[in-house]
Amino acid sequence: MSIAPGFYLALAGMMFTIGAVGALVRRNAIVIFMFIELMLNAINLVFVTFARVHGNLDGQVLVFFVLVVAAAEVVVGLAIILVIARRRASANVDDVSLLRW
């Protein structure tokens, strides 16, 4: 007995939407990061689902790529956030708006 793929896709869609909205409305850099992770994992879920649907491993392989990229991104991103937090005693992304006209 298996659950229809549509449910997985709906869940992934909801996770992605929550992630996108959250990343846009929150100001704390750490929280934004968490929402981005949420979007990435929504995509991972889609990949796994379709791997199952098509009965091959392509989607699962891609998940590993996404995980690696996410890990690398977190390493760089957290380091930047840490430096900014040390200099400004906050992780508010709206404070970091010097690169503009």
Binding site: A23, L24, R27, D94, V96, L98, R100, W101
Partner: protein, 644 residues
């Protein structure tokens, strides 16, 4: 053009004749500071070596058969564009070897003279570097086998002339004179360049011999234009009407420069060029030669008139140079090319001598050039005085000095060609020449001793004669001025026959005529000297001069003001030129050009003013834009059915 491997042997030295002074110039320019006082010896050695090579080439040329004397040597291939080719060839023939010997011979003496004259100058090595560079350029000019290479030398001597006139550039007058010389010469050089274009388009080659052979087939009209353009170049370089105005001002340069460049060699380049390109001038059916002869004759008279009223001894000599160059063009204009070259050679001797004598006077009198403030100098500086006297007799045309023979050859040729008006102008100029040179000589060297105040010491006179290095140049030049006539004695015509294969034969009068002509020339020379003696040597001279000046105030004042030619040129060309430059700088450049540049900048800045508002700096707004973009793109793809 080399007829056989052996025949052109005497030309093989030609590249080294040019290279030696060039090497001297390069060494002195780069290591002059380290060489220091020895620079004069290095430079003199280089030019003396060049002279030795010139003599060797000359002997080789004499040893070659009559038909094999014209030889060229290829240094390298220079320009190749389609079937138009120019090679850096040097031509050694009778004409160029004469010029080489004059340039290096007189040049060596003037280099040696400069060792004494320039001693104590802070830029001593640089002076010799320029002098050597000049010699190299001048030798390239006379040895060039094609007109383009000749033009390279032509511009080279112009550059050196500029550098040496302005050698004491701290003096405003010297800097201005250098600029004036350069700009006036540029006018002529530009015309010369156009003349070269005419030659290329007509003959398709620039090799002197080929152009001259092809000249016979030129269309007379085009040949006239080409020849007149070439001659316009010559009027600039050789200071003829209307471009003579730079030469008197060029006397601001050191005196050896005036002697070498502005008397003996560079200014004769125009004469040499006209003689060299004679067939092109003849191809115009006489029109171009007519212009050459008349410009020459009128310049001779015009400059001589101004020389009669000038007090600056160097400027008198400068006007005299212009006048004598006029004689040479007069001769070239009546196709008496060898007479022209003969006068060129003797003039190089006696004019260089007199310039160097004037330099010795200035050296002794701390730079004084006003002849009213000196007198009787022969008694205190005998070497200078006596050598100058020989130069004076030579230029005045007293038998048997060199100037008599060369000037007589020119006048005889004019007479022979039936050009009695030109002959009369020449004789009139001879009278003035004898007069103004006697005026100069008698005022400076004869009569009671007069020296400027600062040269007097303890009640006595302290004026030194020329030091050994300077005397070493004066004495040989004086000897050459005396005996230079033997080069081309009437009857023997050595130089004439020597040059004949290159420049062609010219008729000389026979029978009694030459004796009468020579007698007439001698008579006017004597009259000129007598007139000068009556006005400047006789005790009553002062009163006579005052009387003459009282009666002829207007023309004399006009002559003193150079007949207002400089002022007219100033109004007609210099002021409009300055106005144009100022318009270009203050209006065109400041308003138009800057307006376009600044306007472009302002336009871009204005356009980006709106766009830059999008750069908020807020990460979240970038994120929202990003998301919106993705949604829009996917919507479009979705609507068009590309996805799903």
């Amino acid at each position: 053009m080399t007829l056989s491997a052996d025949a052109g042997a005497h030309a093989t030295l030609a590249p080294y004749i040019v290279a030696l002074p060039l090497a001297g110039a390069v060494v002195l320019l780069f290591f002059g500071k380290r060489i220091g006082r020895a620079a004069g010896v290095v430079a003199s050695g280089a030019i003396a070596g060049s002279f030795a090579l010139g003599v060797a080439s000359y002997l080789g040329l004499l040893a070659a058969g009559e038909e094999e004397r014209e030889a060229s040597v290829r240094v390298f291939d220079w320009i190749q564009a389609g079937d138009f080719r120019v090679a850096a060839d040097l031509l050694v023939d009778q004409l160029s070897i004469v010029m080489v010997l004059v340039v290096t011979g007189v040049g060596t003496l003037i280099h040696v003279y400069s060792i004494g004259y320039m001693a104590g100058d802070p830029r001593y090595p640089r002076f010799f570097a320029y002098l050597n560079l000049f010699a190299a350029a001048m030798l390239l000019l006379v040895l060039a086998d094609n007109v383009l290479l000749l033009y390279v030398g032509w511009e080279g001597v112009g550059l050196c002339s500029y550098l040496l006139i302005g050698f004491w550039f701290e003096r405003r007058a010297a800097a201005n004179a250098a600029k004036k010389a350069f700009l006036v010469n540029r006018i002529g050089d530009f015309a010369f360049m156009l003349g070269i274009f005419v030659l290329v388009s007509e003959a398709g080659t620039l090799v002197v011999g080929d152009v001259n052979r092809a000249a016979a087939d030129f269309d007379p009209g085009i040949a006239t234009i080409g020849a007149l353009l070439l001659f316009a170049g010559a009027t600039g370089k050789s200071a003829q009407i209307p471009l003579y105005v730079w030469l008197p001002d060029a006397m601001e340069g050191p005196t050896p420069v005036s002697a070498l460049i502005h008397a003996a060699t560079m200014v004769t380049a125009g004469v040499y060029m006209v003689v060299r390109m004679g067939p092109v001038f003849e191809a115009s059916g006489g029109a171009a030669l007519e212009v050459v002869a008349w410009i020459g004759a009128l310049t001779a008279l015009w400059a001589a008139l101004m020389a009669c009223f000038e007090y600056d001894i160097k400027r008198v000599l400068a006007y005299s140079t212009i006048s004598q160059l006029g004689y040479m063009f007069l001769a070239a204009g009546v196709r008496a090319y060898s007479a022209s070259m003969f006068h060129l050679v003797t003039h190089a001797f006696f004019k260089a001598l007199m310039f160097l004598g004037a330099g010795a006077v200035m050296h002794a009198l701390a730079g004084q050039v006003d002849m009213r403030k000196m007198g009787g100098l022969r008694k205190v500086m005998p070497i200078t005085g006596v050598t100058f006297m020989l130069g004076w007799l030579a230029i005045s045309g007293i038998v048997p000095f060199s100037g008599f023979f060369s000037k007589d050859a020119i006048l005889a040729s004019a007479w022979q060609e039936g050009r009695y008006a030109l002959w009369a102008l020449g004789v009139g100029t001879a009278l003035l020449t004898a007069f103004y040179m006697s005026r100069l000589y008698l005022r400076v060297f004869e009569g009671p001793v007069v020296v400027p105040g600062h040269a007097r010491e303890h009640g006595g006179v302290h004026v030194h004669d020329a030091p050994p290095t300077m005397a070493a140049a004066l004495v040989p030049l004086a000897l050459l001025s005396v005996v230079g006539g033997v080069l081309n004695l009437p009857g023997a015509l050595t130089l004439e026959h020597f040059l004949e294969p290159v420049v062609g034969h010219s008729e000389v009068p026979g029978g009694l005529t030459p004796w009468l002509l020579a007698g007439a020339a001698l008579l006017v020379a004597a009259a000129g000297i007598a007139l000068a003696a009556a006005l400047y040597l006789a005790p009553a001279g002062e009163a006579r001069r005052a009387r003459i000046h009282g009666r002829a105030r207007v023309p004399i004042d006009a002559a003193r003001n150079k007949f207002f030619v400089d002022a007219i040129y100033g109004r007609a060309f210099v002021l409009p030129g300055k106005a144009l430059s100022s318009f270009a700088a203050n209006t065109v450049d400041a308003r138009l050009i800057d307006g376009i540049v600044n306007g472009t900048g302002r336009l871009v800045a204005g356009a980006s003013e709106g766009l830059r508002r999008w750069q908020t700096g807020y990460v979240r707004s970038y994120g929202a834009t990003f998301l919106l973009g993705v949604v829009v793109i996917f919507s479009i793809l979705f609507v068009r059915g590309v996805v799903m």
